[in-house]
Assembly symmetry: C2
Homo-oligomer: 223 residues x 2
């Protein structure tokens, strides 16, 4: 990743589940069952732990014994200034810039509890290639997001379809916890997650943010 | 916290849910319902994010608008050496030492998904007062753990009642992710969590590890 991004995105990596409209609609039936009985009223957060950090061009390891691995294209928002109980109106003042995130996961049957075991394998959060300052992106809610596997488009969407926009996410999260400089909000992966295999070249392109590329490699025997 | 602990426990804070036998037994009926239909077969992990870090003697803020806040006495295991796919037999070689953790949470109706919103408020993970080296604790699975509120014992148990012991936890977690020097395993809070109120003095004592004390204070108005 670029030096600017490496220096900027040093904090906690917060994932937001179910933050694309199409995905939420697909899951509505599930939310009407026990234990929730209704769709979530607040952002459903999960954490990508520090061992998941990975960079542009670096291999992503397909773990042994795993049946499926999925890419997770997402717009990343890098916090630039400490944020506690900020309003949606002030939220963007706390953002340093934007980047691409590929939030790899093992597929889960349930969204009730994004499992550490599915989300937090080593190298499962690729961030990069650049930190693009806020001022360079005219409208972060009108960016095309495309996933390519071996050069072929396999998933596409637009940040216009976020359930909660960037300012609302920051406002709702900082109602109950402080975001710090260097924290990254992974604003969500659209519906239609795509399986990847060892040998695949996985790339994500977001308007104005460049292209984030990683090869998938099989896990080696323990050494 | 002591300098040694401050320098040692710099990494990711991993919580383990449902790791006391009495607690798991209380919850068995719940696990037989949808969506799980059976008790968890692997450790249920959650993350205490870096904003939750807090030390011995420091105030713990009772958030505004919250109905209940609970203390969470736990044995903390500080990792001393990188651990990937280690066996239970080798696991203790990767431990620097032990400490006390008070893992504060808002009570949750369900254990299906320990929510970031309930677990990750600022200052909700107190660690200390000391890092006690492994060699000083004869048997970490025979330690009394006691919670005092304003000097009165309100919860007590023993690490003899852990569902998964320390070596097994490390082995099962490092099957799928790497633990790093400075990471902390919060080995679980016993059944019978106790509510605390602003003005309370909360203390946890674990055999051989000293006493971790914190006052609960009301949240001030935004400034």
């Amino acid at each position: 990743m670029s030096r600017a991004l490496h220096d900027a995105a040093t904090g906690t990596l917060f994932g937001v589940a179910l933050n694309y409209k199409g995905l939420l609609e697909q899951r509505l039936a599930e939310f009407e069952q026990a234990p929730y009985q209704k769709p979530p009223v607040k952002p459903v957060l999960f954490i990508k732990t520090p061992n998941t950090r990975n960079g542009h061009g670096q291999p992503v390891v397909y773990p042994k014994g795993v049946e499926r691995l999925q890419a997770g294209p997402a717009l990343g928002v890098v916090i630039g200034k400490r944020a506690t109980r900020v309003s949606a109106e002030q939220a963007l003042d706390h953002v340093a810039g934007f980047t691409i995130v590929n939030e790899f996961s093992l597929p889960e049957e349930s969204y009730y509890r994004p499992a550490v075991k599915a989300k937090c394998r080593d190298g499962f959060c690729v961030i990069g290639p650049e930190l693009v300052p806020v001022a360079q992106i005219a409208d972060p809610h009108a960016l095309d997001i495309r996933l390519f596997i071996n050069g072929e488009v396999r998933q596409q969407n637009s940040t216009a379809n976020l359930v909660r926009g960037i300012a609302q996410l920051i406002a709702e999260i900082t109602e109950f916890m402080t975001l710090h400089e260097g924290d990254v909000l992974i604003t969500g992966t659209p519906e239609g997650r795509v399986d990847v295999q060892p040998g695949d070249q996985v790339e994500i392109e977001i308007t104005g943010l460049g292209r984030l590329a990683n090869p998938i490699v099989a896990e080696q025997e323990a050494h």
